[in-house]
Symmetry: D4
Amino acid sequence: MSVQASTRAELLALLEEVESGALSASSALEQLARLPFRDLGFARVDTHRELRQSAPEAVLAEGKAPDEIEAIVRAMLESGASSVLVTRADQDARAAVLRAVPEAEVDERARLAWVAVSVPPACGQVTVVSGGTSDRPVVREAQVRAELLGASVVVHEDVGVAGIHRLASALPDLERADCVVVVAGQDAALASVVGGLVPAPVIAVPTSSGYGAAFGGVSALLAMLTSCAAGVAVVSLSLFRS
Amino acid sequence: MSVQASTRAELLALLEEVESGALSASSALEQLARLPFRDLGFARVDTHRELRQSAPEAVLAEGKAPDEIEAIVRAMLESGASSVLVTRADQDARAAVLRAVPEAEVDERARLAWVAVSVPPACGQVTVVSGGTSDRPVVREAQVRAELLGASVVVHEDVGVAGIHRLASALPDLERADCVVVVAGQDAALASVVGGLVPAPVIAVPTSSGYGAAFGGVSALLAMLTSCAAGVAVVSLSLFRS
Amino acid sequence: MSVQASTRAELLALLEEVESGALSASSALEQLARLPFRDLGFARVDTHRELRQSAPEAVLAEGKAPDEIEAIVRAMLESGASSVLVTRADQDARAAVLRAVPEAEVDERARLAWVAVSVPPACGQVTVVSGGTSDRPVVREAQVRAELLGASVVVHEDVGVAGIHRLASALPDLERADCVVVVAGQDAALASVVGGLVPAPVIAVPTSSGYGAAFGGVSALLAMLTSCAAGVAVVSLSLFRS
Amino acid sequence: MSVQASTRAELLALLEEVESGALSASSALEQLARLPFRDLGFARVDTHRELRQSAPEAVLAEGKAPDEIEAIVRAMLESGASSVLVTRADQDARAAVLRAVPEAEVDERARLAWVAVSVPPACGQVTVVSGGTSDRPVVREAQVRAELLGASVVVHEDVGVAGIHRLASALPDLERADCVVVVAGQDAALASVVGGLVPAPVIAVPTSSGYGAAFGGVSALLAMLTSCAAGVAVVSLSLFRS
Amino acid sequence: MSVQASTRAELLALLEEVESGALSASSALEQLARLPFRDLGFARVDTHRELRQSAPEAVLAEGKAPDEIEAIVRAMLESGASSVLVTRADQDARAAVLRAVPEAEVDERARLAWVAVSVPPACGQVTVVSGGTSDRPVVREAQVRAELLGASVVVHEDVGVAGIHRLASALPDLERADCVVVVAGQDAALASVVGGLVPAPVIAVPTSSGYGAAFGGVSALLAMLTSCAAGVAVVSLSLFRS
Amino acid sequence: MSVQASTRAELLALLEEVESGALSASSALEQLARLPFRDLGFARVDTHRELRQSAPEAVLAEGKAPDEIEAIVRAMLESGASSVLVTRADQDARAAVLRAVPEAEVDERARLAWVAVSVPPACGQVTVVSGGTSDRPVVREAQVRAELLGASVVVHEDVGVAGIHRLASALPDLERADCVVVVAGQDAALASVVGGLVPAPVIAVPTSSGYGAAFGGVSALLAMLTSCAAGVAVVSLSLFRS
Amino acid sequence: MSVQASTRAELLALLEEVESGALSASSALEQLARLPFRDLGFARVDTHRELRQSAPEAVLAEGKAPDEIEAIVRAMLESGASSVLVTRADQDARAAVLRAVPEAEVDERARLAWVAVSVPPACGQVTVVSGGTSDRPVVREAQVRAELLGASVVVHEDVGVAGIHRLASALPDLERADCVVVVAGQDAALASVVGGLVPAPVIAVPTSSGYGAAFGGVSALLAMLTSCAAGVAVVSLSLFRS
Amino acid sequence: MSVQASTRAELLALLEEVESGALSASSALEQLARLPFRDLGFARVDTHRELRQSAPEAVLAEGKAPDEIEAIVRAMLESGASSVLVTRADQDARAAVLRAVPEAEVDERARLAWVAVSVPPACGQVTVVSGGTSDRPVVREAQVRAELLGASVVVHEDVGVAGIHRLASALPDLERADCVVVVAGQDAALASVVGGLVPAPVIAVPTSSGYGAAFGGVSALLAMLTSCAAGVAVVSLSLFRS
């Protein structure tokens, strides 16, 4: 079964056979195990991820050589990825992406490089708000990721609760969002305030911006995890140290 | 504007006026500020939460006197809550709920008491999986919460990765879910394995079950936060110590 | 120089002599060192504290035998303390205070016992707000302490940011306060929201109420310490485990 | 209502209307929400902070581009800020401030740049003491902040308790202060000793100076938080790593 | 070489032979390895410790059955121990010691039981000071241990720095001590103040008394470890939870 | 392929087919996925584990009801387990095991219950040493586990390095062991000393025995993890709190 | 007894004499103590380690001057070491090794230098798997160490559980291994999945690769320590910061 | 009373007057308070420390400008210090010391500069042992400090317990020492082994050398604090990061 021939719909059909008893559960797992990947020697590119999860994996540039990054990006595109996103990409890593795909876009401050081959059709609105200006790199990464998944993204930066009236103008966009992303460091109180106001699920993303007892984002992480507002879940991957 | 007269649709209309310029942003905030709550002296019951967020707030029994719990439950029902869920409810707290609502349901091991007045129409499938038998109380809380929100819930317990073949029979339910909840303690590796297989968003919920270096759930929390699978977000509220 | 004869004014006069050069700095320290205390064998009651700091020391009952508490309370009153406040006082400790001062007041839930002998004249307004009902014991301790210092105290409980409109009715009292005390557990976001709104200094007091990643109050403590609002200082003494 | 026309007195009048019942609480919140801010695209400068809290916000230079800093400083001054204080300002950031306000003052070691437009009239004495010479940058930041608020500031450095007699000469200034700031790293014992001697509130500020088990200021932070002296509150924002 | 025949002087002579070359270093280690111990099956009582270190080992009662404690105490006395000290001894453990040695002394609050068979001749003065009354159990343990080693012990309790003048009366005993022990919880500032005043070595012993951010003694431990006074060393074994 | 018919040898043959190319890798995974388990509703007993890993899973009693424990033990024995080991088994749990298997053995102090059906033939020597008497429960668990796997086990307790000569008599058993287990709390220095002496792999098992800065076993855990001796690996599951 | 003359067999004979009673235990320790080492002034090279433990000690380059490294390598080879492995070796350190042994091999990315003089005969298969490409330096160190001990090593990189099907092709090599090494950062879930599948002992090695809440490898370390799979032991030495 | 005229003997006489009742305790404190210090503006050099504590304070170079260091060194020498020790002195700091005292000695690797003016007569033997070569900078600091206090110092480096026979040759010097200093990183097991062997007090000094779970010295610190050997006290100041 080649990647090209496979479709998500086929996979679902397969699993429905399991449900109906026409296929054993173990056979379903076997199908999953038969999934292809590209073995580059130094990496096994999970070219099947997009079929399985509707989105290709993001490539973490940190700890990879430029040549490796270039090869991975090429392999993903050759395997039919709808987009490629390379994160934590320094100067050399971004250059490697551009060698593989000259039309790639880059964001130096956010250390990103990406290319959209065939972004899915519009699938909902994501509103991203941040506590302060220094959260911008994480805001950008959230924005690009969401856009590559087909979301329409609106961003309101620097609306932290120390001047809570600044949040007012963002309220309509927060109210209508299908998903809200709150990016904040320090006390991350913005996550709880937003979480108490909006009906959509809130993804709280702690950042390491801040000083004093911010402890590189740990305080923000803990505050978000203990948010007393309902519907707030935490994704911690964007704690960063430049 | 009374609670009864208000509807979520009206709120959205209001916000659309903001968007079109017919209403200022600050007026929108004013509307939100004009929200009612029930002041019981010892508590300010946020009766407006359901309008704002499509679900009433859960009541944490811990640290409240039985009389207070009884009064809060009564106030919520009188204000038209679609359901009431009381968590971490010991013997006395559950009795207090039953005094307020004799038809309430209770679960002793999960320390829950709840009553469904008018559960929303079916709105999607939630599949809950757990790593082991001792995660059951948290599984039950997740299940009841989701059902009160209108979800159809399927549960597969004790499918931890130490015997990963046990996960196979849960795969069809995981594949078809609109949202997956993974409840696990110790190393919480189940969250990452499931996160790598399913297309739906995964809510990872660490528990304090386990021993040794489990550190009351901290290890599970950290493992879930650093899951290398995409689409995994963490809700930490169910770490528990009996 | 006896305690009775001494007055705060005299102390200031003394120090002004230092400033003018009429007295050496070391002589000033000598005066301070000559201060009396009551040696009860098991404790050295700092009867001079009130002169030095305008308020008698609070007595921590925890770890003291009832007889010791009774003796300390008697010693303080005999030394002319304007009030006595005994904290973390269990049943036996509160009984000991009542033996020493039958007219003492007690609060079982807040584990307090106190007696006001000669409260100072009204010296300003303190507004205390709390995030939730379970913060009540700490709210009460803050209230009693402030009242014994001569403050007029207003309390607004259960105004956490998950339902931020509940905070609206407390705004006038927050605006007019000479000092604001914010008592909160979990994410303690209330401290930052209040800190961004009011002109008075804000004393943020973390509590151990909450669950999940609240970690007994550590998350609240860190969030308060990293509050991005100006004028917020933290007093950690009320983290508690019942 | 423009910023220029608004005054703090008007705000208080407004809130008194709330108190008297002439205006609803929610209308008060609406007023707050209607507050202006300067949207610079990359930042929303809270130009209203000074009305609300009697002091403009400090600008954290870290994580902002020089052009952004310059623009923020200009915006604040154009909005009528009484002063501007830029913290953690490296060489480039200080140059940016000087471009915006050639008459700004800078302190390289403390990484500060500031300009006083119209400092409030003298409003009390602040005495700042430090444990050691290496706490100087934090001492300077505390001093400049307090002076921009209209305080008269006296500084006594290097009076740590390992040579407690050095504290003697600072006693008169500590005794007469309206507010005391204790800046210390390592064991921060100075905060407790000063807290036990003076009648004024003590703001304890931990620093990351020190070595061994100082853990970048955590030990100082914890010691200050658990100070057994009354009247000590902690502000943690000055833990620093150069 | 039997225990009875061995003497410390002989051991030193042995080692001097090593130094002079008359004996190889490895033979010295062989001598040490040939040391006897009492094998009780469940424990190997190090009866040789007194020869090696001039003091018998203390027996930790916690985690041992009463019968085991009784047997260990008997074995130590039969082996000629100069004294026996049993720590963390609850009711049953103390009874076990009394069965083995009816003339043993006990201290319930400090959970100690001990018997002095042949205390060494007076060998110096130890002055023990404590921060507060609740540090008493640790003070007592330090006192008994030191007395069993032949020290003359003076104790000054409740001289914490929040009322630093209380320390004045202890100064002569601190000045003349051969060794000072400072027992304190919370911020443990007493250790630094004493460490800066006295010429003798200071053993700082953190306790878990206190509340708030005391974190069971961790704050005291860290403050003592980072004491800026010279000559302060930390022994952490007395952090306790009753 | 039924469980009964399967044998480990067959599994290996299967995998060798994969290696030779006669069978695809995905088919191997399919075989693994087709493994049976016993679904008891509340638990999925991994009856296949013994085939896969040569040993049945241990049953953690903590957090399971006695009836559940009894059912799990019965299911394991019916599935042909060579032995059953139930850990952290309190009075009720041990009784449940005895109901299922009257000939089971129990150890109250170590909270164990176990039954050996068909222990494998002798497969090597394990030497277990412990630092102190209070480590005994963990020693016992290690001993029983190893014996059920067919090992010949020798135990030397209370040979901690504070009296290092006690270790001498254990040396021959340490030298000849095929695997050494070091059980220790506090500083766990025994692990490093043994690790530096013996040729066999050393499994270091930290325990929570101890006091002071032992922090419930964390210090022992860290010391073992950083052991400078080669061949030391850490298993942390036996940190315990009674 | 010279190093050359000694053999491991002789040592075992010696210990068997102890067992039979022909030699006292203390004499055995004496033999161990008589072991030679090379005193280089700045280091005492444990040339006897290979006799005692079948493998020479690895040399940590970090913190040593190049000249010291060169001298240590020379001393080990002169003492008859079967191999030399220098870890964390930067450019200068690797050059120093090459000066001592021109035929040494180096790996820049893994910061290794080594030379095999007389590797033991093949003694079993080690299979090393890693979670991702950035774990490569640690994979390489594990591989080289194992090969120098005589193991046949197979490596499968980048088979983390986010794309679990990639693990399928490694299964035969995992099944047949005598020892499995799992190298992983972030959530380290791979260790538990592998631990649940294979019969051989699993050495789990956390790495500091990853970001967000990976906390430099602490999350991986904790997850590995709490692995619910049997037979997983942790070696933490390879947490690294480049 | 000038510094020159004062002598330690006079101070003791003073305190004996207190003891006899001829002088009040508060007068003793007054004498202490009258102690001189050199106010350099940026520092208050505690020139009286040597009288009070028999040794001048060490000067921490870190965080001080070279000019400040030079001035402090000059001031100490002018005040009659018996020696000066500057720690954590980089290139510039060491040059500053040499400007002030051309005959000063320096140690680049240990970052020290010192000058001995009038070292006290020989007062006992200190034996310093270290676990490994990379602990050398801390060993050197301990050695220089002790020698400036008049001690005769013997050093044995690289005698860690992984090759415990290396410790044998150090035993005679350990046995005869008046004080033993153990410097070690990682698991710091050397402190416990030495603490169990020698009669003298053991000062355990953790270092940050090591890797993996060494956590910059925290593991060593904890292991030393929980040493099960008697007579071990911890001084943490030498944890270092180059």
